[in-house]
């Protein structure tokens, strides 16, 4: 019978260790050390005993180096300074670009006349596959027989999606209100791994599902929550931040969601549904990308059977042009 693994490890380690012999330059007897300077551990040119303290405030005890805490202070301060500089630069360069497009977009939103957000009229329903369909109640001109459906694939942690929403949410809401098309949001969780909690995209998707499921029939609630969730200001500049469940619920409350919906977010009632729908949406999006020559990414806009470029300012027109 073979000896067990632990026993074999012991004998292997002992056998290996025995191959190491005393290094040649080390004297065999302690008596051969004549002075501290001859100590094998002392490298030439590093006088330590009796040296002056390097900085005021450090211990003057000869031979004692400043404690680890102080020794690491300088690199830590340097790192903090670098982070502060990078953060400032990022805040001044990145933020305006996102905010600017939100308020004044030279493209699709330039000619809008209304001051009432068209999204205030929109309702939401959840379809069997977890897609969230924007609809209208009385007040809009849509009759429920819109010509085409536009699928918008988004991940709540995707900065491009934030920008996309900031740029186009008005035009999207107008189109839905006027019955030009139906919008179906299909949420993904491909960026879960980049969040600190590891599942922010899924949690955000679950929160959107909860609000759509519970408060979808109340005009304006879901669109407002969705818009807030994708507002870049909730995420620290530079790196995608994330919200806690409670913060998600607070955001829903601010958008007008009911207490039941807020509770559902905190309780993660739709978490499993979010996982399922995100999985299905990913597979569908993957299939569509395989059929096209476009690189996989979010946001993705699908009209009819094909992908259209969401970064193209005229994507709505393109989305609505029937494929030839």
């Amino acid at each position: 019978m073979t000896p067990d693994l632990e026993q074999r490890l012991r004998s292997l380690f002992a056998q290996e260790a025995a191959t190491v012999t005393r290094p040649a330059p080390w004297p065999d007897s302690a008596a051969e050390y004549s002075a501290p300077g001859d100590h094998p551990a002392v490298i030439a040119g590093t006088p330590v005993n009796g040296r002056e303290p390097a900085l005021a405030g450090w211990p003057a005890d000869p031979g004692q180096r400043p404690s680890g805490r102080w020794r690491h202070l300088v690199p830590v301060l340097a790192a903090v300074a670098v982070i502060a500089i990078v953060g400032t630069v990022a805040a001044t360069t990145l933020r305006p670009t996102i905010d600017d497009v939100a308020v004044a977009d030279p493209g699709t939103d330039a000619d809008r006349e209304e001051t009432v957000d068209p999204a205030a009229l929109l309702t939401a329903t959840v379809d069997a596959s977890g897609g969230i369909i924007l609809g209208v109640t009385a007040g809009g001109s849509a009759d429920g027989t819109a010509a085409s459906t536009v699928d918008i694939y988004e991940d709540a942690l995707c900065p491009s999606c934030w920008e996309f929403e900031a740029r186009h949410h008005w035009a999207i809401a107008e189109g839905v209100r006027d019955g030009t098309f139906v919008v179906r949001y299909r949420l993904l969780n491909i960026l879960d791994g980049t969040s600190r909690s590891g599942d922010y995209s899924t949690r955000a998707c679950a929160a959107l599902l909860s609000v759509a499921r519970i408060d979808g029939a109340r005009p304006g609630v879901f669109p407002a929550f969705h818009q807030q969730l994708f507002a870049a200001r909730h995420h620290p500049s530079g790196s995608p931040g994330e919200l806690t469940d409670q913060q998600l619920a607070d955001l829903a409350k601010a958008a007008g969601a009911s207490a039941a919906a807020q509770q559902a977010i905190v309780d993660r009632d739709d978490y499993q549904a979010a996982l399922d729908t995100a999985d299905g949406n990913y597979r569908e999006l993957d299939r569509l990308h395989r059929l096209s020559d476009r690189r996989m990414g979010t946001p993705a806009v699908v009209a009819g059977e094909g992908l259209v470029d969401p970064h193209d300012g005229a994507w709505l027109e393109r989305a609505l042009t029937p494929p030839r």
């Binding site: 490890l9 380690f13 056998q15 190491v20 302690a30």
Partner: protein
């Protein structure tokens, strides 16, 4: 043979800025041990320990020299701490792990591993086990060496690796599982 397990052999001087694990042991006050004696007494055992960590005698000697140097720079010629051996072992371990983290830039991958000289004690099974140990993550291997070569209790291993005892158990357990799952190690499996 001198070993690395006599962690409480040395003196103590309470009040020095030490890690909690070292300070806890410094209950009694003894005469401070001289670094010279300490180095002479433990250099071989420390080098053997370092060799099992890194598999390279020259690097092992460097690691131990570095540990003695940092002891000297911190305390001078006398070591007023309760467990200088634990301190030195921790230094060796930390430096090895830090070096291992960065060595990917210095290591050159080859298509075929160069042949090793066959030792008189050549044993195919031991060789396979040795190779499998080399594949383990460094912290796992360090935990195995401390447990099965130094026979340290989990408490000491945890102090050396700066982790909790549960982490030590999980490191060892994962390492053993990996070795047992290795098909080249005959008879290591549970069903052997």
């Amino acid at each position: 043979m001198d070993t690395l397990t006599d962690v409480t052999d040395a003196s103590a001087s309470p009040g020095l800025p030490l890690s909690p694990s070292l300070r806890r042991r410094s209950g009694a006050t003894h005469d401070a041990v001289s670094l010279t004696d300490f180095a002479h007494k433990h250099s071989l055992a420390l080098t053997r320990y370092a060799f099992l960590l890194c598999g390279d005698q020259h690097r092992a000697e460097d690691l131990v020299q570095d540990a003695f140097l940092s002891l000297y720079r911190r305390f001078g010629e006398t070591l007023p701490i309760a467990a200088p051996l634990a301190y030195a072992r921790k230094t060796v371990t930390n430096r090895h792990l830090a070096w291992a983290r960065t060595r990917s830039s210095g290591e050159i991958p080859v298509m075929e591993v160069p042949e090793r000289p066959v030792t008189p004690h050549y044993d195919l099974q031991q060789e396979a086990l040795r190779a499998a140990l080399g594949e383990l993550p460094d912290r796992q291997r360090a935990a195995l060496v401390m447990r099965y070569f130094l026979d340290l209790p989990d408490r000491e291993i945890a102090a050396t690796l700066s982790c909790r005892r549960g982490t030590v158990r999980s490191l060892v357990s994962r390492a053993l599982s990996a070795l047992r799952a290795d098909p080249s190690i005959e008879g290591a499996g549970y069903d052997a």
